[in-house]
Symmetry: none
Subunit: 246 residues, 2 copies
């Protein structure tokens, strides 16, 4: 189970934090690390030193340009969020996240991504809205900014606790495959295109429309077949839309 | 409760680890730090930098020569131990430790010490035998050496979890009203009417289409506002549908 949990770091600035993250992961037997647009060289003397024997995870990290590439194959994407945002999103505690993992990963094709933002500014709203849920580590309200690797350590610890707690429960519906992140993003792009075409949505005055529709849809954890139905509806709707003013 | 939990570091070699420990403590609202015979100067540029705003805990740390002085007033002393020793000792998991804290600290004069050993060699047998119990953070057996501050972070997190479990939970999103059953049924009727109008759905050959859309939608537990958005989309879609053959 643990090998199908990916740690995703976005825009990390300090090589030491990448090394310390690798150490925290390896301590808990996580092994899948992805770096999205790091703002530093990942492999330095500092990162290798802080990895303290887990630098093979730094060397093996996949480096990609976008969050989408990092989580395309994931069936559950959870963003670490320090604070509640204007648009509330499904929120888990670290323990609730751990408790969910055996079920989430019961299907051998399932993959979970835990996404961590920049040291100085965390995850953007756009990034948070690509997540099924957010996880908040309950901290001192007067001093809530955890070190990046410390945050990874706490969540990795809860992942390992969940794994140690026992064998995964039997999958409820083994043949109902969940949509992957990439499939969901194709759907959201199709949805937005259609809403523009029918004149419901004006991207110039978005009013959180797509964010609200994302939140609603992600909360339901769509299956692939359900997404196919929704895309069929969008395709038929698009055909009825008036031609664009061009 | 949290103010009566003391973190005790014995023989620490690296100022950065003292600073990172202070940060981990303050993140979880622990405030009592004692340093036993540190093997480095505790207050350095590196420790202040790694404390990242929690350096008041480093400045306020009590520095003593012996474990006895550091824990003299404590009613429970727990040593962090990486491995089982020749003489088995009462052993707690981090979660079991957390679960015990409210009871242990129910008396306002009670104090708990969590004792951490040297970066290179941990606690000596003599030190471990001064503890009421040992706590072992379950790690990857192939890579069990946690960074000192990471170990403090995990135990401090469990302390805070235990404290929060006794606090009344904050209400979550009190103003996000869920849609009522009646509102949902109006929506499903509107949805089916629209899918017929655009030619996607033929009630004569339903193929469980509406059942699947219901299951998907109900799983998300829609809020009233979300349903209003979805009904707005349906209304705009209906307007584009061709007139019925009548």
């Amino acid at each position: 189970m643990l090998e199908r949990i990916r740690i995703v770091l976005i825009g990390t600035s300090h090589p030491g934090n990448i090394g310390a993250t690798a150490r925290a992961m390896h301590n808990m037997a996580l092994s899948d690390l992805a770096l999205v647009a790091p703002r530093c060289e990942p492999i330095t003397a500092d990162s290798v030193s802080r990895a303290s024997g887990a630098d093979h995870l730094v060397h093996g990290a996949r480096v990609v340009d976008t969050l989408e590439e990092a989580v395309a194959d994931c069936t559950l994407v959870v963003g670490a969020s320090a604070r509640s945002r204007t648009l509330p999103w499904p929120m888990l505690s670290p323990r609730e996240l751990g408790d969910r993992l055996p079920q989430e990963l019961a299907d051998p094709d399932a993959r979970v991504a835990l996404v961590f933002g920049r040291e100085d500014s965390g995850l953007t709203n756009a990034e948070l809205q690509r997540c099924h849920a957010h996880v908040h580590i309950p901290t001192n309200p007067d001093f809530s900014s955890l070190n990046l690797a410390a945050a990874v350590q706490v969540l990795a610890y809860e992942c390992r606790q969940a794994w140690l707690a026992g064998e995964p429960a039997a999958p409820v519906e083994p043949d109902q495959a969940l949509a992957t992140h990439a499939e969901l993003e194709h759907y959201f792009a199709h949805l937005e295109r259609t809403l523009v075409a029918i004149g419901f949505h004006d991207p110039a005055t978005p009013r959180q429309l797509m964010a609200r529709l994302r939140r609603f849809t992600l909360r339901a954890r769509p299956e692939r077949m359900e997404l196919n139905i929704l895309r069929g509806i969008l395709s038929d709707t698009e055909k009825l839309a008036p031609p664009r003013d061009e």
